[in-house]
Amino acid sequence: MSVWRFSDNIDTDAIIPGRFLTINDPVELALHAFEGTRDEFARDVKKGDIIVAGRNFGCGSSREHAPLALSGAGIQMVVAESFARIFYRNSINVGLLPVICPKASDISETDKVVPHLDEGYLEVSGKKLPTEPVPEFLRRIIDAGGLVNYAKTIRSEDLCIK
């Protein structure tokens, strides 16, 4: 498990450039993740690696290809000080776990990160860094493994159609 550190305001154009958006397959998208801004990512990323970033991760375009490219690359969790709204929601919907950790900047690429999200912290090379709780409704989507699976369990009374 390796940590990939990124700075503030990483936009979805950087995660997956516009010229690759005709691709819909996560594994194929992953081949182009961070192309042009961090080429070694697609080459060296391994299943189970995590991304750690600063503020506003995933800002910009609503392209779901961005969290798909990361999950296609084997990333299961993105830790950031804060997330852009659409990326945060897209990640949960496709089963990539976004973790808000106000002290994410304390994590370095040499750290070992073990999540204890139910207890509300990340264990980072022995230290405890608090994480923000996920709202109840989103928790249910995460537990279902994404919105597609959650939708299959939804009851008609949960919907608002008359």
């Binding site: 819909n24 375009s61 609503s62 779901e64 290809h65 939708a151």
Partner: protein, 416 residues
């Protein structure tokens, strides 16, 4: 309890009182999909067990990002969407009409007071019509296509109160860049940005669209202008549009209240590589550019092209600059053609393309190479946004873009 316009819209649509911060399942009045994010949305719709969409008349479909199809992948994606539209009875504007957000508004597919989603981040532009509109990803869209509703966290609002009269050749784009500079790229995350004040009340729809369009560049969930006489005039003659009077209560609670005065505002430019890196024009004049793009959902309307043509006058564009002019829709294109503006652009040396997103998102044509600089009227200047990650993008108004295209370097439109 006093409410913002956003809370009132959610209350009306959910049929009960709701407040900022609450997560609600709300019915939607419209859902827009295009050629980039639509294919995945359709895939998700089927994965969720979808058979028929909730209401074909509420789905807006068109292709604008890679048109006409510029690769085999794009052609296949568009073919699949065409087939879906036929099977489901959805009216598909296909490649005929132009950029999704412009078309959705000018075809009257959004009413004041609506909740509308689009699988595109600039969907917030429909707030110019007094609707609550927000961008979503493809899985959310697949869910909405199937069920006709979606979960939302009812957002807090930031009030942006604008006063004063613009100086000549300064306008809505300069205002919104100045507001983004103040609020910053993530200062409005999860919030509605509500534009009010005398300057907004007298701002034509084109300018309101420019402002609401860029709410996302502050992280905003939505931008909104309370519907008024100008809104209703824009939709006049469209029988399907509801003429709702809506505004926030005087004592509504805002997460912050910002005041702006445009009286002394000078042309604003966003410099690489974030949209809140905004400076007064004099800080960047003289910067060489290789390409100028006038167009996009942010600034490709007739009013924008007219503003550009006024700055152009009898001048020619510099031979050192590639100038791309792309009207935002067929309707806007025809208006510009009839006004003789298109011919002037062509004679001055511009390449005028048919309505589409063009180089805005760097996924089709008009890309910039390494070391090159683009000056663009669009909405994002992220590294690599318009091509090479070694290139640079500056953002500004149609007037500033035109002055820049004439001189071949970033120039003040008041001095051309």
């Amino acid at each position: 309890m006093a409410e913002t316009i956003t809370e009132k819209i959610f209350k009306a649509r959910c049929g009960r009182e709701v407040h900022a911060g609450e997560v609600v399942m709300a019915p939607i009045n419209g859902a827009m999909i295009h050629d980039i994010t639509g294919p995945l949305a359709i895939e998700k719709f089927y994965e969720m067990g979808g058979v028929r969409v909730f209401d074909p008349s509420k789905i807006i479909m068109l292709f604008d990002h890679q048109v006409p199809a510029d690769s085999l992948n794009a052609a296949e994606n568009q073919k699949n969407m065409r087939n879906f539209a036929k099977e489901q009875g959805i009216h598909n504007y296909d490649i005929r009409e132009g950029v999704c957000h412009q078309v959705t508004l000018e075809k009257g597919r959004v009413s004041p007071g609506d909740i509308v989603i689009g699988s595109d981040s600039h969907t917030c532009m429909y707030g110019a019509a007094g609707a609550f509109a927000t961008g979503v990803g493809s899985t959310d869209m697949g869910f909405a296509l199937r069920y006709g509703c979606l979960y939302f966290r009812v957002p807090d609002s930031i009030r942006a109160d604008v006063s004063g009269k613009f100086s000549p050749r300064v306008g809505a784009k300069d205002l919104i860049l100045n507001i983004i500079k103040d609020i910053t790229v993530d200062g409005a995350t999860y919030k509605t940005v509500e534009f009010t004040g005398e300057t907004i009340s007298s701002l034509p729809m084109a300018g309101r669209m420019t402002c609401c369009n860029m709410a996302i560049e502050m992280g905003g969930k939505a931008g909104i202008v309370p519907p008024d006489r100008i809104t209703h005039e824009f939709f006049s003659g469209m029988s399907n549009i509801r003429k709702e009077e809506l505004s926030s209560d005087n004592d509504a609670v805002y997460s912050s209240w910002r005041s702006y005065d445009v009286t002394d505002l000078v042309p604003q430019v966003a410099v690489p590589h974030n949209v809140d890196q905004v400076v007064d024009i004099d800080k960047v004049t003289g910067t060489h550019v290789d390409q100028v793009f006038i167009g996009s959902c942010t600034n490709g309307r007739f009013e924008d092209l007219k503003e550009a043509a006024e700055v152009l006058g009898d001048c020619k564009f510099s031979d050192d600059v590639r100038v791309l002019v792309i009207p935002a829709s067929k309707t806007e294109y025809l208006k510009a053609l009839q006004a003789g503006i298109i011919e002037r652009f062509v004679r001055a040396g511009a390449l005028v393309e048919a309505p589409c997103c063009g180089p805005c998102m760097g996924g089709s044509f008009g890309l910039i190479a390494s070391g090159e600089i683009s000056f663009s009227t669009s909405n994002r200047n992220f590294r690599g946004r318009q091509g090479s990650t070694e290139g640079k993008v500056y953002l500004g108004s149609p007037a500033t873009a035109t002055a820049t295209a004439i001189r071949g370097e970033i120039s003040d439109p008041r001095e051309v």
